[in-house]
Each structure stands twice: as C-alpha cells, then as structure tokens.
C-alpha cells in the first residue's frame, strides 16, 4: 500500500509546488497514512485547508487508506467537519 500512496503523492507534487511546498510520507500503518508537508507548506497555517481539499481526498482514494494524518498540523473535529462540508460540495478525486 505504501507504494500506491507514494505514487499518489507524486501526482500531488505539482499541486503543492504551486504553493512552493511539497509533501512526504512519514508512514502507513493500520490504514492510516501519515504525511508531512515540506518547503513553504511546512509551517503554513492553511495546511488544514490543503489537507481537506486536496491531500486527504487523494489519499483516501488509494485502496486500503482509511485515514490521513498530517505531522505537525491538526485541527479540531468541529473544524474538520466544516471543511469537509465545504469541500465535499466541490472536490471529487478521480471523478
């Protein structure tokens, strides 16, 4: 599964390059893909938006990935729910 996740991250790199940033895989364990932002994305306060709009949908589309976590960036369940509703209306990976 890690190879599939890495392949999907490669597909995402051009998108993150538009932010002058990047992404790398920390680990995949028990269906949880854990990633870390790099470059200008490293400490960006808008990481949760990129995660919810782009990275999480892309990785959840990989078979076997059930959750996506970002090292160094986490928001509350309430905020995640708001983002999911907002982006769920417009973002569909592979559709």
């Amino acid at each position: 599964m890690s190879a599939d996740v890495l392949e999907r991250l490669d597909e995402l790199r051009p998108v993150l390059a538009a932010h002058a940033g990047g992404i790398e895989l920390v680990e995949v364990r028990n269906g949880v893909a854990r990633v870390r932002y790099t470059g200008m994305c490293t400490g960006c306060p808008l990481r949760p938006v990129t995660t919810a709009s782009t990275v999480r949908p892309a990785l959840l589309a990989v078979e076997g990935v059930e959750a996506v976590e970002v090292e160094g960036s986490r928001i509350s369940a309430e905020a995640e729910a708001r983002l999911a509703v907002a982006f769920g209306r417009t973002i569909r990976w592979n559709q």
Binding site: G43, I75, A77, E78
Partner: protein, 333 residues
C-alpha cells in the same frame, strides 16, 4: 511512569541559591537572587510553598532526586547547567553539581552542560565545551544569551557560531536556549527567540530547543517552531500555570497542537525552583481543550499520543533513547 506513559523531564536544575554563591562585586546580586526565588514561589503549587522547603540554599542531588523521581512519576530527566554568572560565583546551577547528579543516577539522569561566550571569551567557552562533553559526558548544551549587561545574540557569527560548530564536532546534536522569562531586571527583548532562525538555517544538523515557549514571545516561538524542522519547544514550567490560568494553558497547547504538533513539544518541570513536578503532571493528564476553543479556534483535542509525545517520547527521540529498552531496564532495577 504515569498511567503507562514514559515521563522524561527535559529540564531539572540542582540550584545553588545560597548566600555563599552570591557575587560580592555585584550590588544587585542579592536582590536579583530574591527576585528569582519570588518568581519560583509564584509558580509553585500548594505543598511546595508552605515553608517546609527552603529554596534559598544549595540543593543536593539527593534532595532533587527525591523531588523528581520519588515524589513524582518521572522516569528520566536531564539535569541542566544554568550558565548565569551575572549574580552567582559558580553559576545559578553549577556545572559540577549537575554532573554529580548524572553520575549518581546514570540510569535516569542525563547531563546537560552550559557555557557563555562572554563570560571569559569564546576560546574559554570552547575549552569548557570540550571539557564538559569529553570529560563530563554532557549530552546537550544550554545557553543563556540574555544578561543584565552583556547580552549576546544567538545568531552572532563571531560569538555563537563557533560554539555550535564545536558542538557538532563533539557529537552534540541538541542545543537548548532559555528564551523569554527574563530573570531579574534583564531586558526582555534579549529573550526573543527570533535570533535562532538563522542558526537553524545554517546548522541543519543541529536541533534547537526553545524553553519556556519564549513568553511573552509565544507567537514568535510558535511560528518559528512550526516552520523550522530542527526547532523544538520545551514547555519548561509552562504547565505550572494549569492551576493558576487553565484557560491560558489550553489556548497555548491548542495553538501548539494545531501549528507545531506534539512531535516537537517536550515537557520540563524546572524543578527544584518550581517545586516538585507531581501536581503539574497529574493536572496535565486531566487537561483538555474545551468545546468553545475547539469550535471557535479549531484547536484539536489533546490525544493520548500527544500526552505521550509531550511527556517523554519527543525528547527521548531527540536524545536517542530507546524507550522500550529503558522501561525494561528501569523495571529490572
């Protein structure tokens, strides 16, 4: 162990706050020492401020061990030199006393040295570094760049960079900085963490630990640690405020978990000045981010993994400690 969690205290100090250690050539020595004592008293919890413990004295390693490891569920700690010569003949927490503690309790205590490039010059500081690492076994080095007179900047290429270079040559990969919380009547601006950005860029192999969340420069510390992969934050005595101002601690922790992540946060008690760590540890285990902060600011809830990282795993990773092996070793002892 605390509820099954490995507790690694990033900073304890075997202080010498005795009258005998005060410099006679500094008119402000006694006053400043007393301000330090008052600051410690202000942050201590009930049981440590009832007069039964005298803080205005030279602590022994046995007393500090009792406070940290017997009265509290601490597994390991780093005992740190406080290289402040401003008011003290032999610094605030002397080199040989800290070394003695690590020697006495080698399974549980790591020694962190400390030097200052303006005390006797850079060359003397380099000699001290060599001695503290090669002869005394220092695993990390602590710096205090703020002084009443003679503050220096951590990005000074003449004063500070030779020390970082020597640290790396000696195999030291973790350097630590007292930031924020000015002692006595020091200029508070000298305690900003901003001057760690250039060295963090120039020395990517070195890990920089900012203590005390650099208060009152919390926002700076937050944004710096979030962006620099080799900058960590020590919550040195910050959890003491859980009883005094729980809302403040919840806001700080909420922002830290949102922006920095618990993989870069370390707990530190700063015992003995702040009293024994047991009350803060238990309060931290009960601390949660309340509903309105989660909803209104998006701060994440503190997870069991966050508590494990903050209380021990982050600093254990930095110091190369195999936690499972260490737990087995301590259980056998």
């Amino acid at each position: 162990m605390l509820d099954g969690i490995f507790v690694f205290d990033n900073a304890i100090h075997c202080y010498d706050m005795s009258d005998e250690n005060l410099r006679e050539d500094r008119a402000d020595a006694r006053y400043s020492r007393d301000l330090l004592l008052a600051m410690g008293a202000g942050g201590r919890w009930a049981g440590y401020n009832d007069g039964s413990i005298e803080f205005r004295r030279r602590w022994t390693v046995e007393e500090l061990y009792e406070l940290v490891f017997v009265d509290a569920p601490t597994d390991m700690a780093m005992v740190q030199v406080v290289p402040l010569f401003d008011w003290f003949k032999d610094t605030f927490a002397p080199v040989l006393t800290q070394y003695e503690m690590a020697q006495r309790y080698p399974d549980r205590v790591l020694f962190c040295g400390g030097v200052d490039p303006l005390y006797a010059g850079v060359d003397a500081a380099l000699e001290q570094l060599d001695w503290q690492v090669k002869e005394l076994g220092a695993r990390s080095i602590k710096f205090y760049n703020g002084h009443v007179d003679g503050s220096w900047s951590c990005d000074d290429r003449e004063l500070a960079y030779p020390l970082y270079e020597r640290c790396l040559e000696l195999g030291i990969t973790v350097v630590q900085f007292h930031k924020g919380i000015p002692f006595g009547l020091m200029d508070v601006e000298a305690m900003k963490p901003n001057d760690l950005q250039r060295p963090a860029r120039d020395f990517p192999e070195l890990n920089f630990v900012i203590h005390h969340l650099a208060l009152p420069y919390f926002e700076e510390a937050l944004w710096i640690a979030a962006r620099f992969p080799n900058i960590y934050l020590s919550l040195a005595a910050n959890l003491n405020f859980t009883l005094i101002a729980p809302r403040l601690v919840q806001q700080q922790l909420g922002q830290l978990l949102q922006m920095v992540g618990s993989e870069k946060l370390c707990y530190a008690s700063d015992a003995a000045l702040s009293g024994g760590p047991a009350p803060y540890l238990h309060a931290f285990m009960e601390l949660e981010i309340p509903d309105d902060l989660r909803d209104g600011f998006g701060y994440p809830q503190i997870t069991p993994r966050d508590r494990e990282n903050i209380l021990g795993l982050t600093f254990a990773r930095l110091m190369g400690i195999d936690v499972a092996a260490k737990q087995e070793q301590l259980a056998r002892a």
